[in-house]
Symmetry: C2
Subunit: 394 residues, 2 copies
């Protein structure tokens, strides 16, 4: 009952949306600048001027019928070429045009990837903590999402449980690194171990298990480090990327799916993407936006504020005695609540105008997420409120 | 086997694409200006300057985080409001924001509409001649497309067959007016008769049959006329619109779905659209494109060239003795081939550098489609070639 499924989704209230609505309402009472709203993962740094300039240049200098004309069904060739070249330059993997398909952000890429490699009833394995939107992407494709419980000490992968749950029905593994909500980057060691497990199980079951990697936070890594390129560790991998965070343009719904050149049937998979897009009527992302991001593929917005914010929050919360794994990147931090019920904790925090998201839906009950994509000045003002909240309640 | 389905779609060669590729290759030999390419329905009139100016203004004057920020899951409220107001102004139906959902063109709207009102296995009825892309939109939703054969004299609806085929399994009727490929506009009489039949059958079966109306050519109607607004004739109707043709921006993938305010559960249907978009990972159309079309909702490009072209071709083909229903609008004309096998006819035409699409996939074997969205000057040069072709072969 698909229609009923959509209706059920409607009635399932989103905790994040409810909190965000509280923040907006409270903002009207006391001024939004006084609400310490850590609920939403909306980029807060301006779009790079180069992106805006590129858009204006395209509008001024390109023939309108070319600029706004139909994309071919596999998206614009020159754009795919530029993305492939950028990936090869950065990661040393020989991507070519035929491995790249432009999508509606990482969301569109993941939803396509799941449809590419699963039949209804097949299983997709993911690891807590995980992005809750994986549920609609997987559920509505007809496949089944299975969640491996977290490894709380480091928020890397719980391999004992992973090995147990990687049954014959699993056709794909879906990972998110750098991770929302923990901010943790999967280490080389983790990725090697995961690749070894998947290779072993693929052989055992006689079918490939595909690795779908959700990487929208790839450019937000702290301490001058780089996140290891997941596709370098496993041949049958499908990279899902979004420019939402790196260029601060989430509303433009632009990203790509890149099939590892070493993947089985790589080109056929990309060609099938065009057919999936036909079926959902999406066809292609906006043509002007495709052309603009191709020119900005190697750019990012000035993302340094996220690291500044992370350090401020991490140090304060550590000092208050909270249990936290220090984030390697993203704009999230994921502390353990000082009481078992994170929902209660979050409710109490509202009295101090602190909007914190209890993290049950991320697969880690008892934790809470803070999205610190807000002004540093506001982060600084929030810390005394946080201290007061903890001191008065715990 | 969904994956196999996508693979099969890949191997099914598109006649239109093959012809278009021939035209491009032949163009390299003799100059594209000498290939009379009537294969593709790509708009040929420039994008209105107001659209380009609006885009540049948005880029210059709007805060980048607002302009390119996430759309709410039901798309941008101010955009939905402006579209609703425009519809009410034009058609006198009291559309409001809550009846409108912005989509990836009419394709996205139709694919959503089918998912809104059918379960897998349900039937969607359409009338030949019909747009062949209805197959992927319906097939990949899990529903089944049934095609009522054409009424060749007028290319209105074959009601005898329609009544017979509107069984209990039919949950939706999908129509396209002005029609691709015939250019015919369904008359008020046709729409009244269709509404009466659907009302009767809905009552008989005890479930609503929804009318999904595909209207991307609504603004291209000849003789100073207007196409009747389909939603004015039937309450349970879902309008699917695209700005691709009216503003010549097909690559931007922008349009909307508007549920008739009198439709059962109208607001719930619109809310469900947001959940369907979540599931396919599409979420929303590009935010800047949504904002730009909202400002241009009452505008069209200068579409008069299509009528000029139609008259030139219609008169010439009539004079040559071909059977044609005169188009009321669009940029298509749909004559009967002077031999039974339209594929053979189309093949012979290529020797005269005339690229004509045999129309079997549109549900009318023996006919061919000409997309005359090309320069009038080229249409004029093509007519002697057409005359020579017919005279030498028939």
């Amino acid at each position: 009952m698909l229609v009923q499924k959509y209706k059920n989704m409607l009635s399932a209230k989103s905790v994040i949306r409810e909190l965000s609505e509280f923040a907006t309402a409270r903002g009207k009472e006391i001024g939004y600048e006084n609400v310490f709203d850590y609920s939403l993962g909306n980029p807060s740094v301006p779009v790079p001027q180069e992106f805006t300039d590129t858009m204006i240049k395209l509008l001024r200098e390109t023939d309108t019928l070319t600029l706004h004309g139909y994309s071919p069904s596999l998206t614009i060739p020159s754009v795919r070429e530029k993305i492939a070249a950028s990936l090869e330059r950065r990661f040393g993997i020989p991507y070519r045009m035929q491995h790249v398909f432009m999508t509606a952000g990482a969301a569109g890429a993941i939803a396509h990837a799941v449809r590419l490699v699963t039949e209804p009833g097949d299983e997709v394995l993911t690891f807590a903590t995980f992005f809750p939107e994986y549920h609609p992407y997987v559920d509505l494709s007809g496949a089944v999402l299975k969640v491996v419980p977290p490894q709380f000490e480091t928020f890397q992968i719980n391999f004992d449980k992973a090995a147990e749950m990687m049954t014959e029905k699993v056709m794909a593994v879906l990972i998110n690194t750098p991770n929302n909500p923990t901010g943790v980057v999967y280490s080389e060691e983790t990725l090697k171990k995961l690749a070894a497990l998947m290779t072993e199980k693929s052989k055992e079951y006689g079918h490939p298990i595909y690795l779908i990697t959700d990487e929208p936070y790839r450019e937000i890594v702290f301490g001058g480090k780089q996140a290891p390129c997941v596709s370098g560790f496993y041949d049958n991998s499908i990279m899902c990327y979004s420019f939402s965070k790196s260029l601060s343009i989430p509303g433009e719904r632009i990203g790509y799916l890149a099939v590892n050149p070493a993947c089985e049937d790589a080109e056929t998979l990309v060609n099938m993407c065009g057919q999936i897009s036909r079926g959902i009527g999406h066809n292609c992302p906006s043509s002007i936006i495709q052309l603009a991001v191709a020119e900005c593929a190697d750019l990012t917005a000035d993302l340094s504020v996220y690291e500044t914010n992370m350090n401020l929050i991490y140090n304060e919360l550590k000092d208050l005695g909270l249990t936290i794994v220090k984030p390697d990147g993203t704009f999230y931090i994921f502390p353990k609540a000082p009481e078992d019920d994170a929902k209660e904790f979050s409710k109490k925090a509202l009295k101090y105008d602190l909007v914190l998201v209890p993290a049950d839906t991320f697969g880690a009950p008892g934790y809470f997420r803070m999205a610190y994509c807000i002004d540093t000045e506001k982060v600084e003002r929030s810390l005394p409120a946080f201290r007061k909240f903890i001191k008065e309640n715990y």
